[in-house]
Homo-oligomer: 449 residues x 2
């Protein structure tokens, strides 16, 4: 196969896809050639590139012995290429080309979270079956080394819980809404103009991209296959500045979180906006930055923070993986660490806890009829379902009209809350559907304890 032990033979990398990340990786590969060779002990060279669309290589020129392939099949089949870097994104042809490359014994590095979240089992299975390495650090958190941390550094501990701000676009929008009191639509439009949001921002703002990433993180942390369709997902489209304002009064900051916890017999994985205490570390992560915090049984808390997107940061993650795969090829020592950190077969699928069964604290904003007895009614319905109130803010008076009444609760199940709101929202005491935002119990502050 492609193992090589000739001390002068370089490992030749083929890049498919020369978009932002592809060009970032190309830049690292060409610019840091000497340092890469020094660190690896053998040359890592650019064997070829393949890009369907016309692109301009900004400030880069391909070396003379780099092959330009017209289609990916050609590159994948070329025996001179020993390592394939897939940076085209999307489901197809990415899926096919990765599977084909593995079939001919080539290790693969990819940044494709959507593909891995959707077809991960097939792809991880293929890597295991063909004894090749699959690197995908760049698929979560850009340049933040969270996957290697889970797979290697913390492999001897049990991860109990993970929570992350893993979509920079959503975080940018929430940060600006909160700072400037602007409406969602206003900030989104501006973010699109400035290039912080895509022209079709659905994946980012509806939580789908975060779901892809939390699915990958959970699979690595807990050693269980995770099915994307099972994950409850809620985005930030419906968030109003008034709720960010009230949140501040309670000392909270709103973030779109991916959450994953291992309860032993079941997993709790979800994506939704969450209020966090303003002095927690995740609450301090603003703008386009990403951060992932986790808790290990022996380790305790750990937080990683950095740029979650962008060509250059993401390219460093691709390069870390490429170097590891290249070592495996050069030293004929591939596939010693399973791609997910757990052996592919033998994993046991744990059930996902339904959203109705999760426990949380809640922020509830009622638009209440401004009449005597309304608060007593609301408190009564909540109390009857076992939901106890932690605090209440009731502001302004509009006798005969409606006013916001904001309640934060102690821990209750989602089904208790939904049941109570079913009754309240159907009553004459409120004029609009009640706004519900979960409050995340963050125990990971850099506190004295």
């Amino acid at each position: 196969m492609l193992n090589q032990n000739d001390k002068n033979a370089p490992v030749r990398v083929g890049i498919i896809g020369l978009g932002t990340v592809g060009q970032g990786f190309l830049r690292l590969l060409l610019k840091n050639r000497e340092i890469l060779r020094e660190r690896l002990g053998f040359p890592l060279t650019l064997g070829g590139v393949c890009e369907k669309n016309p692109v301009t290589l900004k400030g880069l020129s391909l070396p003379p012995d780099c092959v330009t392939y017209r289609d990916w099949e050609e590159m994948v089949r070329d025996p001179r290429i020993s390592l394939v870097v897939e940076l085209v994104g999307g489901l197809d042809p990415a899926r096919t080309l990765i599977l084909e490359a593995m079939k001919v014994g080539k290790s693969v590095v990819t940044a494709n979270k959507a593909l891995l979240a959707k077809h991960g089992e097939e792809i991880f299975g293929s890597a295991a079956a063909h004894g090749v390495d699959l690197g995908f650090e760049a698929s979560v958190g850009g340049g933040i080394p969270i996957l290697r941390t889970l797979r290697e550094s913390l492999a001897g501990d049990r991860i109990v819980r993970l929570a992350g701000i893993i979509n920079g676009t959503a975080n940018y929008i929430l940060t600006r809404m909160s700072r400037e009191g602007l409406e969602f639509e206003t900030v989104l439009a501006e973010a699109q103009r400035q290039g912080y949001a895509e022209s079709d921002p659905t994946f980012d703002i509806d939580g789908i991209d975060s779901a892809h990433k939390i699915a990958i993180l959970a699979a690595m942390a807990f050693g269980s296959p995770v099915t994307l369709e099972e994950i409850p997902v809620e985005g930030i489209r419906h968030i109003k500045p008034i709720d960010l304002e009230f949140g501040k009064e309670f000392g909270y900051v709103l973030k779109l979180l991916g959450i994953a916890a291992d309860h032993g017999d079941s997993l709790d994985i979800r994506v939704h906006p969450s209020f966090l205490p303003e002095h927690s570390l995740l609450a301090e992560v603003d703008g386009v930055f990403n951060a992932i915090e986790l808790s290990g049984q022996a380790l305790g808390p750990l937080l990683l923070f950095g740029r979650g997107a962008g060509g250059d940061p993401t390219a460093t993650a691709v390069m870390g993986d490429v170097m590891e795969c290249a070592r495996g090829i050069y030293h004929a020592s591939r596939a010693q660490v399973p791609a997910l950190g757990f052996p592919f077969s033998g994993r046991i699928k744990k059930a996902l806890r339904p959203l109705s069964a999760i426990y949380s604290e809640y922020y509830l904003r009622f638009m209440a009829q401004d009449q005597p007895g309304t608060l007593s009614y609301l408190a009564g319905v909540l109390g009857d379902r076992g939901i106890s109130i932690e605090s209440v803010i009731q502001k302004g008076r509009d006798r005969g009209g409606s006013v916001p009444v904001v309640v934060t609760t102690h821990r209750a199940t989602e089904s208790q809350v939904r049941e109570a709101l079913g009754i309240i929202d159907a009553s004459v005491h409120v004029t609009e559907k009640t706004v519900v935002i979960r409050i995340e119990d963050v125990s990971m502050e850099g506190s004295l304890s």
Copy 2:
């Protein structure tokens, strides 16, 4: 040699030193036996222990086939032990036993920062010469996976700058002094009673422990040997609550930092208390927690936060290294990644920039004669040396006595400042030696940009 390919043969680990970290590691090894075997694909077993002092194993019992060695020589020479975990600490016999183990072809894992900072060149050289692996993740930042991040995840990028809160005891003391306005001595005494500080706290509070760690971090980040003696070190013994108070008025928090920057031709490595903007991420790291931030040329900023000490967190780092070394032994694929991330020989020693040549902003507290013209004198001397003032706070009046005059400056070299203070402190305008604290230019906030 000790390579083994028998699919049933376990890799047998010997632990020397059963203190807090040793017992934490033992607990992980015994409690997570099944998960370790599953993840590795082969059994990792406890071959033996060696501990000179009488210890009580809390809630742990050694398996029947675990050998109890009377001295380390016996364990190191025993061919049944293929991997030595050194957790005795201190310089000797740690140094000798590590060198002896390597000499007979055994990989070594250690948490011994003092030893590596002092005798690193000898030990890394020996690992390279004997083709064994040396794991030392646990030597910096407890369970925070900063070394693997530098060695593998970011190996394709160039690290420009590192700064860290890498001593939990010092951070605990500064946090409490700042929150409660207490004197250094008061907090230290209480921290000693509560077990947050050692009975001899010198290494922690005088910055020596931080210097050990920043020496290791810098060597890995920049690929240059670093000599401990060259690093300027200043501890926190002299810090007064009044300076923490004035700092707050300027929006600063005081932290003991290890700092390392690569200026191309020279390195800037130092340990000293630094004022940080209160909303920077490092400023939010309180109590016994550690955090390391770094900046990569392509990566941009990255921050890792977690427990920097404690038996269990540190043991997870030891375990991550042990698993990696065990794979190398089992698959006969040792020493594929050099211990420092760079090949041992061929590194070029970069000179350290002397403290006098560094640039910084400064906080200066003068105890000034409360007389007209004093501020004009101070500003004049500073201005004559090219130091421009950013802001001034002058509080209280004590006509004829002395009052604090606090000045923050724009960027200047340390030698400019020392020269100016030499003149001012010798003058009749001040009654005490001026307090100087560097203000760290932190560009790594989770900002919108």
